[in-house]
Symmetry: D2
Subunit: 339 residues, 4 copies
């Protein structure tokens, strides 16, 4: 890190900072500029509470140099990670773009199987569906629980699709891991550290959604928690951020794809359903995500969106999904991928 | 809610929406305007998945009319709630403004007691301190655990201050409730619903921090979760939101105080430490918070901020805290409150 | 619009609002719901200062129903507008996607012609380049002025490219219109109304950039200003919005493409250079923009970005531009467009 | 500035950056760290297009050290600037807090004089009122023009209040300066550089509003434009920023007060009317602004807000204004100021 002193810092104030730097196990390198003195701190101490030095007299600011994560970074592993998911072993992160679709919540056997068959027929590789739902309102449908997991497993048996389901508390990790092929950590749980550690202790791949106002450092540190706990199979998922915009539920920042590629080896999946919150924008943003280099797309698909128990406004029908797949394939091929 | 149809919606498309409205147990009231038809939906069904109607053909948008929360709202309880906290029974929400201060994390007996005595001497009513720390990085200090709780209890015994400590997982609710006077739910856990329900099942007051990009509806729905689970003693805490601004760690939107007063009876506490992230801005924003009508202020205070194990950049010293208290009192009195 | 009264509004308070509604030339339609009374206001008065009613006693909120713009809207003109630009009459908004590229600022004859020839060779249809530069700092390069315009005209003569240049004040509208094929209104001037009116009084097409925190309503109202003043040839340009994100200079919200298509007939161009601020992200976001349905892309291209007088960090080289064009074409074709 | 190289940068890539640094007239200072090489660049060249170096191979990022403004900074002038405004020479920036109030737009002689007399009677020192209105919609009331200015001058004569009025184009600078005591630059014009230069060429004090998504650097650079053009009498005004929040029209970030105090000597005024957009929040935020150390407050006040030609929703009545003044005074005194 680099400590920038205010103009007019006295020699003893600079020395005080140098002493703190030493105390933290770092070496100092002081540079006297025209207006300001700058202290470069050398050594690999990511964990130091660097901000604290900001409190020393006449310190203007602290500039971190090292990324705070390590195992998620390209510095540790340069080649892209691919992760095998589901009974057919689709490798997410490889040349083929994986499309995962399904209802927000598992509501019934009919709803789920109808969707699963349509997803499979159109070329999807995964089935999403929530058995435990984190709902903003205590009065909203909270999911079918274990019964939902059993329906998902049945759908996998019938279709060969990989099952992706959200785990909302440490209590359910074991149960969900027994049924699912991919454990989803929702955006609202991205910084729920006990949960990150719990999914880090199983081997099931994890789809980690970025929090709606998380920085990339925070996102990759959340991945680092999981990897650090023992599970290297982390798939990153962008699902939109909260901004001032009101014509969408969230703003989908696709530049996150090249930005993450510069920082990490982990596969990147885009969620245009939450990423916009509006069914009619999902096709355009799915096409854009694939063109921008996403390794996968995860979509909400419901046979009857108007009557969905949750997230109907952003769900597309199986028919729309099938049409979209027909349009995604040539775009994937145009960027040297495939579906 | 109100359903706005697009211009040119056909009679059968309008009828289709009316049918959906009936299906959801609501009454319709159709208004034919110059450009658009609007369908007002009558009846008290907060829980309906209204967004789904947006998916019906030719629907332009849905406008909710009712607030989605109930027990947290002024419609159910008009007089301000006051909540007794700590061994001395200070009532937060009453005329006196309660000031709570202490270190981000409990680090040692000396650190904690020195701070506690200073907080008490300056007129504070509560001591904050984390025993379990939700840290962005897996490599950062994670807290002293039970030992930290024991030190907090000892500090209470010596000072009479109410103990405020964060609970980061359902596993710790019982343990923390055994020691603390107020259970804090951190901003990153505001929508961790299993945790909200768990603290809803104890009687210990809860300090609920607003998520850094949560809407007021989401914030009050989180409070509703806790109340709905059985614990009416919820204290709302604003700790800053994430915006494009970079001179602060978070933007502290004090207009939330009058905005919450229009919506809820719950007490409102402001956290200028996280709300700015910069120790030197804490005094000005504490004064502003009290002038704007806050029921309480919660601050980070550390005897040696430069060496704090966490959040040093936003911690003030006991001496600064004491000076600040001397300035807060006349402002509180100027707005017909007191400290 | 719809006026929502607070719970418990008295009959005379409701009547007072009804009277105001009449005073504003609208008809009222009062609906008495379970909790709240709602007053629908009928009639086409877009210009009424509706917000003012919010000040009436016991009014909770005002919900606008009509879009505030008219001539820019699909309600007035349903088919897409195409606009001919440049000596070769390329029609932006038609099937072919138009790619415009060039340096941020015109710096020299060599720089400009080298770029122009490369843009033309790679299949671009327009040359961008600023002669008058709106610079954040008064100490930064402010542009070559009229000399820059002359160089642009020379480049057009040599290449047949349409010239796009920014006009930063009413004083330069005439001068710029004499030289350029498209007048650009920069993001920082999107709400500079005298300038909007001035470009509305010429016939030269206008490329209107969205302000970095403008809502879609504000963006389309800015277009409305220009159309209303007499110039229907408005091209909308998204160049990124300001959010909390720091790995980009701006966040490029591509969902604006389908969102604008639902609202307006005007052509839509995307600027991935300003939209990210980082040269290495420009290719991915250009591909995404075309896949999402953009009518055009506008890029910064400089023969020597490291030494560019402005915006070097987001400029790509002519070689990168040529490579990108080769990748954009198949994506355009995959979504039934072409370059 | 500091250039951070990516891990693995080759010696010739580092040398290439060093060469660029020299080319820009700066001295280099290379530091070889454990993971990365960092190049500190010494010398006072604020105007260099530093970002361009980001384009050099293997450069990870550029960290600016110097603030980009100079004359607005504390480095050039350490004592607070005070500026005399109006016929009675009130000094804004001095101990007394100046309260300015008046209608958004001048609508009629009666409206204006009634307001002016009330503002004066309650202890205000300035009268605001727009004669030229920058309106989001071309169909909205655009102001009374010169006639409005004459009414403002008449109000000054009757009351002794300083007249504050907005100038929206270079064409009106001379005219407005003939009538007004303070020229207001609106938020939407904060980066309209020809206008900044035009008001920099008169001596009338300028109230410069921060753009709704401007950074502090951009805000102070706008001030620098005016000072650099010859007018040192710049009053900074915060009027709220655009964030994801929807219960307010803008989010009022009062921490800007201590943040600006660390950076500039210019007086700071807060606008809680635009800063919230809601009349009922104006009192709380005015009190907070004064407690946080504002040098002035500027408010919208209208005798009949429900019928205001603009901004009625955020205007308070003369009676509310008078009440508020009675509450502001003790808060000002509590923080060692006065009204």
């Amino acid at each position: 890190m680099i400590v920038v002193m205010r103009p007019g810092a006295a020699p003893e104030q600079i020395q005080h900072v140098v002493d703190l730097v030493h105390e933290f196990g770092l070496k100092d390198h002081v540079i006297y500029g025209t207006d300001r003195t700058v202290i470069a701190c050398l050594g690999d101490k990511r964990m130091v509470e660097k901000d604290a030095i900001e409190n020393a007299p006449m310190v203007e600011k602290i500039v971190p140099i090292l990324a705070p994560y390590k195992m998620a970074s390209l510095e540790v592993k340069r080649e892209k990670t691919t992760i095998a998911i589901g009974p057919e072993g689709f490798r997410i992160g490889d040349v083929k773009v994986g499309v995962i679709a399904g209802p927000c919540a598992v509501e019934s056997r009919e709803q789920l199987l109808e969707t699963a068959l349509a997803v499979k027929a159109a070329g999807g590789i995964g089935l999403r569906g929530g058995a435990f739902k984190p709902r903003t309102s205590p009065y909203a449908f909270q999911g079918m629980g274990r019964e939902g997991l059993e329906l998902l497993a049945e759908a996998r048996e019938q279709t060969g699709l990989a099952i992706v389901t959200e785990v909302i508390g440490t209590e359910q990790v074991k149960l969900c891991a027994d049924y699912a092929d991919v454990l989803q950590i929702g955006a609202r749980n991205m910084q729920h550290y006990p949960l990150l550690e719990a999914v880090g202790k199983v081997t099931t791949p994890v789809l980690l959604k970025r929090g709606m106002s998380a920085s990339l450092d925070e996102f990759l540190l959340a991945a680092e928690y999981i990897i650090n706990a023992g599970n290297p199979n982390v798939i990153l998922c962008e699902r939109g951020i909260r901004t001032f915009e009101t014509y969408v539920r969230n703003t989908l920042p696709l530049a996150v794809i090249p930005a993450l590629r510069e920082r990490t080896h982990l596969p990147i999946v885009i969620d245009p359903s939450h990423g916009t919150g509006r069914a009619q924008m999902v096709p355009a943003m799915s096409l854009a995500a694939v063109a921008a280099g996403a390794d996968g797309v995860i979509l909400e698909c419901h046979p009857n969106p108007e009557r969905a128990a949750s997230d109907g406004a952003q769900s597309i029908t199986p028919q729309s999904f099938s049409d979209l797949m027909g349009r995604l394939r040539p775009v994937a091929q145009a960027v040297d991928r495939d579906l």
